[in-house]
Amino acid sequence: MISSAIIPQPLAKLPWRLIFLIVILACVGLLTLYSAAGGSLRPWALKQGLTFLFFFAVAISMSWLRESTLKSVAFPIYIVVFVLLVGVELLGFVGKGAQRWLEIGPVKLQPSEFMKPVIVLVLARFYDLLPPSAIKSWRAIWPAALMLFIPAALILVQPDMGTALMVILIGASVMFIAGIPWWIFAGAAGALAAAAPLAFALMHDYQRKRVLIFLNPEADPLGAGYHVTQSKIAIGSGGIFGKGYLQGSQSHLDYLPEGHTDFVFATMVEEWGLIGGLILIMAFYLVVRWGMRVSMNARTRFSQLTAAGLTATIFFYVSINLMMVMGLAPVVGVPLPLVSYGGSAVMTIMLSLGMLMALERQQRTGSGISSLRIPA
């Protein structure tokens, strides 16, 4: 926080450290997209920059939202997004094939993308409403589980395994933080392991292939394992200092597929090396730490859970994407927020950050009855 007499109050009250980190990340993204296009603003960097600016403005304005507002909209928004998801499903059937978007005029809406922050809000609200004594009862579990798994299942059949996985992980994080018994998670993990063969059987062919290739990428270096193989080559060949900006052969010669979207980290690290990669990871780490602080400092249960859940959203985006591009996880199609080209992830992250900033502002101002700590 900058406190100076010269700067007007509303500006001084912005979380500048976070904004600084976000701008760094966005700039790294724009530079990389500029390079991935062979040293050109088109087709990605310019559009991404505009998208970022738009959602950045949205996030800043969201920072004046009140916690009570967030609380009151949690269930209604959840229902709207849920209906949109079902709508996509129905239209998808009509349109024959996987359809993740709803086209409303020039705007492409991807309801599954909204579901990530919204699931946080609705679960936080749910546990906020739940009497503390009920946290170890089934009442704490089954409604949350329904709210989580029905949309996740809808997203999974779109099919969008990455987003479904993210939604489940985010929801589970909120439930974990909320304090439902730990053995539920242990049990779920056990059940998941047991159900893995079944899940495998239910997967689409391309998904199944990805899992198999993840387990043994060398089996098919030119086929389905190609993405990961080329991504590891890009990252590994960058070395400590990288090949230099605009000098990455893997991305510039098209060996790295999706070098501007899911595999943008490989594009970046090839040119900036280990140093660049570490700086990016450090920036994300600081953003996540900032979010975790917001959660720790929160004075209401709703804001605790919301802040933790939104931070988890950012964390899962980054960690799943990085594990994917470095060959530690199957390729499930999760972009690197703020860096990968594409408006959806930028939107989700900026909405999350906007809400986090709102919660953080409440902490600092400490105003309002809703922000009062419930006395022990």
Partner: protein
Amino acid sequence: MKHQPITPVHQSLTFSRRMMVFGGAQAAIGALLVGRLGWLSIAENEHYSLLSESNRVQLIVVPPRRGWLVDRNGVPIAINRSDFRVDLVPQQLEQPEQTLKSLAKILDLDTDAMDRILRDLKQSRGFQPVQVAENVPYEQYAALMVRLPELPGVRPMRGFSRYYPHGPAVAHLVGYVGTPSAEEYEKTKNPLFLTPGFKIGKQGLEKTLEPYVRGTPGGQRIEVTARGKLVKELDPQPDRSGQTVKLTIDAGLQEFAARRMGDNSGALVAMDVASGDLLAYVSMPAFDPNSFSQGIGRTEWKMLSENDHIPLLNKVAQGLYPSGSTIKPAMALAFLKQGIDPNRKFHCSGGVQIGNRYFRDDAAHGTVDMHSAIEHSCNAYFWAMGLKTDPQLTTEMVNYLGYGQEFDLPIPSQRFGTMPSPSWLEEKYHRQWQGYDTANTSIGQGYVLVNPIQLAVMPARIASGTLVQPRLLMGTPRKPIPPLAVDPEHLDYVRKAMAAVVNEHGTAVASKLPLDGVLMAGKTGTAQVFKLGARGHQSNWALRDHALFIGFAPADKPRYAIGCIIEHGGFGASAAAPIVKDTMTYLFDKQKAYAALAPLEEQWGGTLAERNARELNRIKAVARANSA
């Protein structure tokens, strides 16, 4: 489930603890990511740098042009003809199915070819192109060039294919070239072997001379995108074509001899008696080696392998035949060396009793000496003299003159046959040498097996009086040729007798050379193929005797020696000797030789080239009928 009421205090505590766990898990995953990043970019940096570089830079291998094979006068025997070829670069294919369909239509590819292309495409690695077609006719090539922009991944090229101007006449001498097999690649791991259009020698001299004629491939190092688009050209390296290899062969003689053999199945080897240079190396019938360098069709292969004249067999190197009476001059030298008086008279009454078996001769030759026994090919004389001499010493002499001997020639696989002796028999069959063994050996039957090269080496040694060795390559260093360890007078005697065979009243007088002042000396041979069959004329081709002839000319001042075997040709005098006569004539007077050949070829239905072309058309028609 509930032990005590849970209060907000508890909840707050739980929250802090869960946040610690959650934060710890995040930190652990963060550490894992940093560790992985460090591992990839530090520990594995070298490995991935190499991979990245091999992605970036591709080598377009330009197969070297194969060195020529030329005859002793520089006349080309194997050369390269420029042709059009079409390859596919799998990585550049955008719509494989569509592209293949278009190619099949433009290039007129059959299902066989399409199957092969699909198989190759599945197995192709990296940037390695896959061959679609070679020897594409210009019209099709032009049609393809026009449509090229809509066919990404298709790479039309100008290449070279091996061409043998003499066709079947040199088939068994040069062998053929073909695409390296998977095993050959596995053995060498040479990436050149995977380059479409690259051929290696598969048989004959093409195979044995491979190290000389292959050359070194050139290459263009290029930077390419993953889709195979060229970004920039790096340092190119020109290919170096293989060496030209000069053979001792006389291409004209080779072709004449091959043509003169007509429809016969057999072999002819001609040799320069002074140097040992092989002038002709003919095995007929033969395949067209040009068919092989273009990739032989299944129908043609089937027809070749089913032919009873075995055109796929190199009869010069691998055919083994009883020598028949051609052994007699060498036998005579062995007898002379063991003190048999050449003037000693022998009465041939048509056969000789050896042990409990009576050996019957073709005719009763009456009273003969060594000269007339050779001249008239009197078996009884040789049976009788063989029994009077030491079979071990006799065999050694015949072997010394060439029969059953091994030669150092650049031919992939040779069979050298057998010159049986008592010690050999003991070792091989564990039995004593008997009188009938002597009798059989004396007339080149029984265990005696010779190859057609030996049929030329033996007369060459007798003619020159030296231990001349056959040679096929001009470049090889010449060793001094030692004289034969044989009394020159004996040699002179035998040469005169051989001259009488052709020029006096002998078995081959019909094959006297039609030249003034050049006499040929020789010896006929008729080798029994089927013991119980009637000698001579048999209606069943496969049961008839082999006809052999060995000869040299001029008889008084020998320059050339020729050995010839015609399978199932009947009497040596009737089938083999006339061929040797005309071939020998060619060496002294080409016009006269061709004059003799013309009416024969008319009878056979055209020249070798004409008959070959007609045969290929017939094969094509059969192939078309089969595939339809």
